[in-house]
Homo-oligomer: 385 residues x 2
């Protein structure tokens, strides 16, 4: 096991009816800015639950935060926050709304050009407004981590930042608010969480029993319950387990003390940049091809994954690894997610573009060994064609 520091101060308020408990966790005299995305938060009644819980507090609202949240939109919210002397932010939505809220919280107190927050990857952040979240989409884990990704269309850049001031003070996870999510969002969320776990698990063994066992538990839960969540959308227990799994998939716990990969994410980001394919779907395209391509570097963990996640114990090593990769691809397909570049209209020219973009963005040493180059990514993408 590698040395690690683990610290996660976010308070989780989990279960039915917990939105009402906002009243206990938002300061009594707070001037609150509620941030949300499209119309679903209003339509589903979640925003009304939030307004009721906040009672007599001074509330300003800011809607319209996009998927892959935009810098320009976030900066408008910063203006709104300043104009209304807001001192507490409340994100109501999925990962995009929460990511934007983290950036807004930091930008509110940033002197100078807020773009520095992103170009410095968060290192210039010395203070952020306190904020909480009401999660509506189990997927990204942003509700219990300090990371955020913001897209600047003007500059053609999508940058991530992270800062310890950007942990949510609390996150409300009520599985019932996910009952009305479109199938596509549930499927994407399951795939996103699945690959988050894989990025921290499927590297090389460092005898981290606890982290491995926890990761395998989370993967098995997604495999078992992901399809059931689609078939039986109002099953509380299924949605509750998925919601807690997606949060634990990226809250620092399973990644503590182990090597991490993240090359599927790096390559996938460039597919989204190319043609706006859903983030989770890009991961489902890249991951099976990457597993196959990197099988010599990942042999030990691929065999462990085959045995402990898929119960594949028979046959030669290569056979078991093949079966585990095929099972992974089948799982995504069962969730309604296609796993070939062609399914998303990406051909040879697209692959050329992605490889160039990886070079342009300095993604020349990807993966847990820093050994995957853009030309390796080309080979992987060709295999995913």
């Amino acid at each position: 096991m590698k040395n690690f520091t683990y610290h996660n101060p976010t308070r989780i308020l989990f279960g039915k009816g917990r939105i009402a408990d906002l009243d206990d966790h938002v300061p009594d005299n707070a001037r609150v800015l509620i941030l949300y995305g499209g119309g679903s938060a209003e339509r589903t009644g979640v925003l009304d639950q939030v307004r009721t819980a906040l009672g007599e507090r001074t509330i300003t609202e800011f809607g319209g935060i996009e998927p892959n949240p935009r810098y320009a939109t976030a900066m408008k919210a910063v203006d709104t926050a300043r104009q209304n002397d807001v001192d507490f932010l409340l994100a109501v939505g999925g990962g995009s709304v929460i990511d934007a809220t983290k950036f807004i919280a930091a930008a509110m107190y940033h002197d100078g050009d807020a773009w520095e927050i992103l170009t410095s990857h968060g290192s210039v952040v010395g203070k952020a407004a306190p904020f909480g979240t009401v999660l509506t989409i189990p997927a990204t884990g942003s509700e219990m981590n300090p990371g955020s990704v913001i897209t600047n269309e003007e500059k053609g850049a999508k940058l991530a930042f992270m800062n310890a001031h950007c942990y949510p003070q609390f996150s409300v996870l009520d599985p019932e608010v996910t009952f009305t999510l479109p199938e596509r969002q549930i499927a994407n969320g399951v795939a996103d969480a699945f690959v988050h776990i894989i990025e921290q698990y499927l590297t090389y063994p460092v005898d981290a029993r606890v982290q491995d066992g926890f990761a395998e538990t989370l993967l098995r839960t997604l495999i078992d319950l992901g399809p059931r969540a689609l078939r039986d959308p109002k099953n509380y227990e299924v949605r509750a387990n998925l919601m807690w799994t997606a949060t634990l998939a990226l809250n620092g716990l399973i990644g503590a003390g182990v090597p991490q990969d993240w090359s599927s994410h790096m390559i996938g980001h460039e597919i989204t940049a190319l043609n706006d394919t859903d983030h989770a779907r890009t991961l489902a395209v890249v991951l099976p091809a990457l597993m196959d391509d990197q099988r010599d570097r990942k042999t030990g963990k691929l065999l462990q994954y085959a045995a402990n996640v898929w119960n594949i114990n028979e046959g030669e090593d290569a056979t078991r690894i093949d079966a585990a990769i095929a099972a992974t691809r089948d799982f995504f397909e069962t969730m309604g997610i296609e796993t070939r570049l062609a399914d998303y209209g990406v051909g040879e020219a697209g692959i050329d573009h992605i490889v160039s973009a990886l070079k342009d963005h300095g993604m020349t040493e990807m993966g847990e060994h820093g050994a995957i180059t853009p030309e390796d990514a080309r080979r992987i993408l060709n295999a995913a064609a």
Copy 2:
């Protein structure tokens, strides 16, 4: 899954050489009181590592905190802290030293009789001195939770308290400091952590996949590595996995959203009160008998435990449950821990005394259903004779 709130702000500094990082986590101008137990912290060099890391800070030291830490001793430390205008506490030791430190931290700022902290179970605590820990014995989990147990010999009482102000700010977990622990302390620590997990796991199913899978991972890790830790005391990976397992066994994570039992602890405490048997050993006596006695209430989870922890999948339900209970007992015995009351000199009169003590202490509705009475405990103790 039941509704739950999960919040754990303790920062974990895990790995080789991390004691040196105290310098980054204790305030620069702190006046520190170092608290420790017997002579081992000095002998093993841990205290010297701590002193070196704290550098020029003003240090006062207070040693001699006992196993099952005493109220009178803790109050002496409170006096020492006040006399030296201490503003940061640093526990260097195992669960007893850390438990005492939590009480001292709360008592330093308590007006009136500090015994109220315990009789109120912590509800009167409104402030506590900040403190960190350097863990030397993996066992109780106190390094990452807000609970503490203090014994008042004068009043003949052993009381627990818990308060959110009593989370350690940080805990240093360096597995190398456990290399020199006596076998008995390693064995006790493994048994203690094992039963902590069981108390939160072996109740009735509420479809909490994540919590169950995490608990099973921790149990399997203890079963696999506990005996290896005795055979091969300087194996870093073994000690590292045990140390992280014992912390996660009682930091709130696996107990979030599930029913909890704790009757083995309630009954075990009275055995310790009777004849000072090591806490962990009392648990190893009570648990197998309690599993057998409560098999009708715990059938679902006993079968799951048999399959997922012990890989027992053949035979009738009763046969598999018998095998899982036998395996549990064998595990403790393999660790050198005897599992019969007679092994600790407790006979019929002792059992009478324990049953009376449970009644006197109001332990009349124990277990996850509140259905275990002192007379049920008598039956369990007779089976453990």
